[in-house]
């Protein structure tokens, strides 16, 4: 195989701010905390950081969605940058990490800070989401002109028809899907990461109120505030990193039509292309994976990732989750070990990436997967998707 950009980059440090519901703190303050924590974790100083990449950058969006753009963070941290970038389009929220890998592989930068910050819980406080979207005054752009005017205004309403079609096409027992919410909550409680610390049962899942059928409340992740920072460093320049995590492969392909609603197969999202691409870039296979962190902004998305990444066949994900044993900490595929977004809260994929690193570094305490050497992270939903194989 010719030179792979994955080999030129490592994760040298990780950091997270305070996270939780309605912290009433600014996005910049949380971001600064996460970045300082990541720098200290990597054994670096802010003077060493010469790249800064975020997802998605600042643009008109509901309160708390975008977090601060790179220019505000550069100024707040006093960074001297050789590369900076933020863009909402790309292979999912993880595109920012891939861009950082390219920056160090190309020699443009040595230590790139990547961050994702959300303050949606504080942003929705008081007025809720209702009426808070700037598009309703300024006009609906791009693909969303075909969704929002009809009342399809949330990822819940963009995805719910595909979830229904999936349940219908495969004749799935809808309540089996509840095992994801139940298992994630148990994982979050074990790690002290649960936004809501009460254990869940399948009865709780079945009795939760409807959001956009067939999605009920416990199929949906929890909006929170928080920032995650990941430092991507040039492998040949970061030789004394205390806890390196290596990139084995990325999946960034898209060949299907990249929309929320133009599917005939209800799982034919870019995640399928990403899965094929990911495994084409490594000799490892799904059976080598010790721990998986799969995007669960909605329960259905984790099902899509389980199938797209080859952990089970089409229509088999709910059966794979049933009973919770296979995906438990000591099961064949420990899944979302810090609770996923369903229980740890929506850090928009970066909580999942952070947890994959914690597991590979052996720092997950009572929630540690024994001897975890290979982790998979799948981030995104609908037209957004990207994935990583990480090793220690």
């Amino acid at each position: 195989m010719s030179a792979r950009f994955e080999d030129a980059a490592i994760v040298s440090g990780i950091g997270q701010s305070q996270t939780g519901r309605r912290l009433q703190r600014s996005d910049l303050s949380l971001t600064v905390d996460a970045c300082r924590a990541a720098v200290a974790d990597a054994g670096l100083t802010l003077q060493d950081v010469d790249g800064l990449v975020a997802w998605p950058g600042e643009h008109p969006a509901p309160p708390g969605f975008t977090g601060p753009g790179t220019l505000r963070v550069k100024d707040a941290l006093g960074l001297d940058l050789r590369w900076h970038h933020a863009c909402v389009e790309g292979p999912g929220q993880g595109a920012a990490l891939m861009t950082a890998m390219m920056a160090v592989a190309s020699g443009l930068a040595t230590h790139v800070m990547v961050y994702r910050t959300v303050t949606e819980a504080t942003g929705q406080y008081g007025g809720g989401r209702s009426g808070a979207h700037p598009w309703d005054a300024a006009g609906v752009p791009g693909q969303f002109q075909w969704l929002r005017p009809f009342g399809s205004v949330s990822a819940a309403t963009w995805l719910a028809p595909s979830f229904r079609r999936y349940l219908h096409d495969y004749g799935i027992d809808r309540e089996q899907v509840g095992w994801l919410a139940v298992s994630n909550r148990a994982n979050a409680i074990r790690r002290g990461r649960a936004v809501y610390p009460q254990p869940l049962t399948l009865e709780d899942y079945a009795g939760a109120r409807d959001i956009a059928t067939p999605f009920r409340l416990l199929d949906c992740d929890i909006p929170i505030d928080g920032a995650t920072a990941i430092i991507v460093s040039a492998a040949d320049r970061a030789t004394d990193t205390p806890h390196p995590v290596r990139f084995e492969a990325v999946g960034s392909a898209v060949t299907v039509r990249p929309w929320w609603d133009q599917l005939t197969d209800p799982t034919a999202y870019p995640a399928q292309d990403v899965g094929n691409h990911l495994w084409s870039r490594t000799s490892l296979t799904p059976t080598d994976v010790d721990v998986a962190q799969l995007y669960d902004g909605f329960s259905f998305l984790a099902l899509v990732w389980l199938e797209a990444l080859g952990f089970c066949g089409p229509g088999e994900a709910p059966g794979f989750l049933d009973g919770g044993e296979r995906t438990s900490i000591d099961g064949e595929l420990p899944l979302n070990t810090s609770g996923g977004q369903l229980s740890e809260g929506r850090l928009h994929g970066y909580g999942l990436f952070h947890e994959a690193c914690v597991q590979l570094r052996g720092q997950a305490g009572s929630g540690q997967v024994p001897d975890a050497e290979v982790a998979v992270v799948g981030i995104g939903g609908g037209p957004l998707g990207g994935a990583f194989v990480l090793t220690r």
């Binding site: 209702s130 009426g131 309403t157 028809p161 229904r164 005939t264 209800p266």
Partner: protein, 85 residues
Amino acid sequence: MLLPRSVSGRGWLWSYTVVHQPFIPWLEVPYTLGVVELEEDLEVHLTTQLVGAGPEQARIGLPVEVVFERHGWVHLPLFKPREDA
């Protein structure tokens, strides 16, 4: 390649969702969103509202036809069950 083409306005519900969460102030819940596949090409879908029918009438495969709802210079293509449904 995509080119404009006239179509019959007929199709089927590929799938649907009944929205209960009041995400927006300008639509009363519950309302039914459908994804309609067009008779002329099943790979062309429209996200739309199902009108003229309650949520209990929605089902995958329901035959539907277009009705336009005017908002100033915009005509939104909504869909109702076909007479022969």
